[in-house]
Subunit: 291 residues, 2 copies
Amino acid sequence: MDVEHLPTPALVVDLDALADNLEKMADRWPGDTLRTHVKAFKSTALAEHIASFTGYRGFCCATAKEVRGLATAGLGRDLLLANAVVDVDVLRTLARLDEARVTIAVDSPETIAAAATAGLREVLIDVNVGLPRCGCAPEDAGPLADQARAVGLEVRGVMGYEGHLMTEADDRAGKVAEAMAILRNAHDVVGGPVISGGGTGTWDINETVTELQAGSYTLMDTDYSKAGVPFRQALHAVATVVSVNRAGGYAVADAGLKAFGMDHGLPTVVGYRIWYCSDEHTTFGPGADGA
Amino acid sequence: MDVEHLPTPALVVDLDALADNLEKMADRWPGDTLRTHVKAFKSTALAEHIASFTGYRGFCCATAKEVRGLATAGLGRDLLLANAVVDVDVLRTLARLDEARVTIAVDSPETIAAAATAGLREVLIDVNVGLPRCGCAPEDAGPLADQARAVGLEVRGVMGYEGHLMTEADDRAGKVAEAMAILRNAHDVVGGPVISGGGTGTWDINETVTELQAGSYTLMDTDYSKAGVPFRQALHAVATVVSVNRAGGYAVADAGLKAFGMDHGLPTVVGYRIWYCSDEHTTFGPGADGA
């Protein structure tokens, strides 16, 4: 079906831009050095496309549901749930997945106990490298690895996400090096083959990780583009103009708050100025590019 | 299942608050004077609950999908699609619904032609009463009604949504009266039994409409609450704290941008201050109530 005949609002992927992005990333992070993060796009179809395009076998997930989705789609060769989970019932659904290798991040005695109780077998020690989110204090990484091994878990290594630096304008490379020095020091104590971390914003400057957890590079977004990351926007929302007010100088399209991610503000219509979005509408008119 | 045993993130409805809201609204807008708008909650289960609780038969929709959902759930007694649609294929799916009465808003020759071509039978003339969105110029309402009747459509009346005044702080009642005077004048020309409009923010001051298009009153949200509307918040997101950083003074819960509507900013955690939300996490700590 042609794009112009799709019922709207519709999300469309620019396959040429996607291919450029996948190739660019594969040049720098070939084979299993890239662990594409699916949290941004949450699509097993896109994950399959990436795996077949580049041969990547490992994926990174933010939720248990993403892990189950990829495993069910036959993409369970090496799945990392890069988040702390304390719900044993949820973790049991992952331990029971057929033909899936599931590794989970742990950052506390509670998350280690939950993983072991649920029957999961492999973990990474999640180390806080500066982002105020999950991750243990660096000095706790070694003791937590000991605790995990004591209850029978295989510790594959460490992870640490420098998410606070993804769009840092001032000396991004220097600050990433500092954050990754924390992760390397923790890894020296923890051991194991894996140092997992990084993202689209540090894809060209992270010299530490053995696998990069990048996801936004696939489809990108208008906010990341502003940060100067050299991947192309491959995802667009298609809408139909359903009403025009010539006297008022605006038009109304049939896509709104419920169709867009609004966490970075208004969407962008190239060549126009957006007045505002409501649930199912965007009012826009002539003016400067974007919001 | 107890709330504390739900897999998280989970959306939960406070049924007592919902009942209070439905009763309060039914006191002021009984029977078919209320046309509950489903765009806010998009749940046929909740629509069924409302219909059985109060006996309302009519619903207001923002999308064709909502119309199809309600009709399929047996709630098609009187459905208004209160938006302009120009896609004839989409409108045909509504004209073919069994045992559903579907009325659609029109505001242009194009939307009238689309409705007639698709085989829909009833329309309201959507009149712009000040909100920069859909709706014809007031002076065009009569000619558009004539056009609609000329192609065999039944014109049930007019609609006009004073959405720009829902949370107006300065003389809301006076401004609503001005907007509704525009709608009454248009109705004088158009005719028909229906004057549809209004919303949760004008439920107590709109003296014009024959049916109120309110939806937010059911579950409410933190933003509407700030505007002094006397309905209770009945919808909450339940999350689990999965990581605690005592030295940093924060905790991390497993609900984030993908779980919340972010169009009015950060969510609220009563008694705490939210630092920020990421895709699947909220980092929060001690501090003032809300964001």
